[in-house]
Subunit: 110 residues, 2 copies
DNA sequence: GGCGTAATGTTAGTGATACTAACTATATAT
DNA sequence: ATATATAGTTAGTATCACTAACATTACGCC
């Protein structure tokens, strides 16, 4: 085997930790992005405390994942960059969406 | 027009109510399935109170939907333009994918 | 009208807990 | 050994998701 298999994270905390590390963030940096204390992060990742919904949503956005994955580990259709792109697209105006599609077509062609 | 257009539900409570009604349940029946008081349901649907995660998961299961939809109205399945964009993105090189994400971020920000 | 009843809305109060702050622990480097 | 960076632990508190009880609305029936 050339690559180490990622053990699938079993708990909410483990999933948060795995994704945070994959994004190369310290608990401190993560805490700042979320506007919570660092100790909250530590408690989440050790499953000592849960998260209020608002923070769950922020976590999902920042770590480019879905609530479903965070909460129950279900790997939905989109994850990571693909999910990020989709969310950005949805945040765009109709006009900007056209721009994006156009750009995508140009890039994909080459 | 043969069918009335469903207005997209704007709040968590509205989405829960819409799905419950679509499943032809009264608040009482719904409460029993969830093992919570009926008044909890009433409060959820009028956005007077939120839900603990355990109940959110039960709600999603019983109403056959996802946490993402309940919480933020996010629909997991792609259609039309979204699907097209996704296919184009996947057709891109790693480099071009970065470009596309960057473009999306710029557009979405404005 | 008046009465029953089915469905939902509202309010008060409380137990559970998601947080913050402060302290502790561990590892790495110089 | 000392400093620094990162993460774990604990105590205490403010918040809020619930239950129970009461209020309202809507409808049918006589």
């Amino acid at each position: 085997m050339a690559s180490k298999k990622q053990s699938p994270s079993e708990t909410v905390g483990a999933r948060i930790r795995a994704l945070r590390l994959a994004a190369n963030m310290t608990q401190d940096e993560f805490a700042e992005k979320l506007n919570v204390s660092r100790s909250a992060i530590a408690q989440w990742e050790t499953d000592r405390a849960g998260q209020i919904r608002e923070n769950m949503e922020k976590i999902a956005k920042i770590l480019n994942t879905s609530l479903g994955y965070l909460v129950s580990g279900e790997t939905g259709s989109l994850q990571g960059d693909e999910l990020a792109l989709m969310r950005l697209y949805r945040a765009c105006s109709a006009e900007d969406r056209k721009m994006l599609l156009l750009t995508a077509r140009r890039l994909a062609r080459s």
